[in-house]
Amino acid sequence: MKTADAFNNKKAFIAFLTCGDPDIETTEKLIPEMERAGADLIELGIPFSDPTAEGPVIQAANERALKAGITTDKIFDMVRRIKDKVNIPLVFMTYANVVYSYGTERFIKTASDIGMSGIILPDVPFEEKSEFSVTCEKYGLDFISLIAPTSKNRIETIAKEASGFIYCVSSLGVTGVRSSISTNVAEIVEHIRNATDIPVAIGFGISTPVQAHDMAACSDGIIIGSAIIKIVEKYGRECIPHVYDYMKEIRQAI
């Protein structure tokens, strides 16, 4: 399955979850339910001890998952178990060191073998990407590029070499729910569209159905992370129906 399948004839709803929070069994049950609630693509977060691009909500999720004993291998095993039950593309979202220390080629090959479609590394900018993207290409994974409100003169260069979709960061700062998104995202999306035909999804700060609707209207899809993790944090192992209800509402709004 290709990452781009998520954008076929519709606005894509991309959902993020931290694997192993509160435990890997809950993650395993959540993934098919997220698809049922209307997700078109799921970002599976592999926890990292020091996630420098995350706000407090996802930081805390990483800590909970690591404390509960999650490892990269346990996440690979979980994907092996659920892959046949899921009909949407899955991508890993983690940090460079998780991939590098596993052995970059070994990590990417395994991800490809178990049916993953792509990988997002928020601490790997354009200048460093070939270390990972060349191997991704070899194994048929999309290396997803990010574009930020500060990218400006870099947008074209990044967009031209992008693969799968472009993750357009809505605001300055780290991940997390924001009451309003003040950046002129529509303008950035337009700028990206002038350089490439690859779909553009907006993430960072989206939590309400109204925000989801507005952001989807000016792009090809939206990404929601912290708002989902907050529900997992609140309900723990009982979070599944609550995540489902929330996502259903977002799906209807976009």
Partner: protein, 394 residues
Amino acid sequence: MSKGRFGEHGGQYIPETLMNAVIELEEAYEHYKNDKEFNDELTTLFNEYAGRPSLLYYAEKMTKDLGGAKIYLKREDLNHTGSHKINNVLGQVLLAKKMGKTRVIAETGAGQHGVACATAAALMGMECEVFMGREDTERQALNVYRMRLLGASVHPVDSGTATLKDAVSETMREWTRRLADTHYVLGSVMGPHPFPTIVRDFQSVISKEIKQQCLEKEGRLPDVVMACVGGGSNAMGAFYNFIDDSSVKLIGCEAAGRGIDTFETAATISTGSSGIFHGMKSYFCQDEYGQIAPVYSISAGLDYPGIGPEHAYLHDIGRAEYVAITDDEAVNAFEYLSRTEGIIPAIESAHAVAHAIKIAPDMPKDKIIVINISGRGDKDCAAIARYRGEDISE
């Protein structure tokens, strides 16, 4: 391979949001490093404000007591604010000002870099915010007060292990929130390019002076230059101008904590492996899945799970040697130098003193060792007293 590489180490592993900021910084630095006016201003700040050049002091009693190589101490502890940190901070804050920034942010462990940064910000009229692990704000309450006195705000960091590495992470996060008017004054030879190069260049005044002073006093270069290494800025500064002088042995002294065979250590070269963290590829203390390890040292300034990329490279090519010094050895050296020379070194610097105590006796009397005393030890007295079972309040 991207910019800012030292062998395979270094690079720019940071979020896209920060990329234009580090590119802007690199361009500004490339311009100003050759700008006469900038360099004159910096030299004036070094000499008239920070008290440079720092002394190269012949430690005669220590030399006689150990009975081997002749020992000199490079007295960075005599600088304004009490450590080598001021060299980098004056350079970076001046650069930030030239770039039109009005606000600086910084991480700090024990508080030395934070205090230096708050000092330079006060001097140059910049707003200053310092991020410091909650645990460190409690251990180093006096430094928190000093920073506030200097007009900075101090933000305790609760994430992760609430120590130096988390302070770095949080300062990076803060930088992604507010870039336009803000410069991140990184405190060591680490992080994404161009920081390892900028910090090394501003600290290289240490080895430039050592070379000149040693030639004046001894008519030749030293045989050994040694310094403590956390991130590695004082060591990089002390080594840099000697890298091409192959007769000069360079030794970095890491914090072994309770020992390199325990989990309570911060000795990156001895116990770490190659990784990518805080913007750079280098050696880090980590587990098999790349999760960064909580580290430990009695010295808050060496309590960091990584090492600057240029040190990683000097280690790879065998140009510098890195040794691990335990808490016990460092505390003994802290007390030894105080008693022998009447100089109380920072507990960080005491790691280098400890190694000199080990190797000097076996070296011939005509050999010369220079130990970089990166800071003064007043800040450590309460902690060392506690280590010895004596409870004193600051």
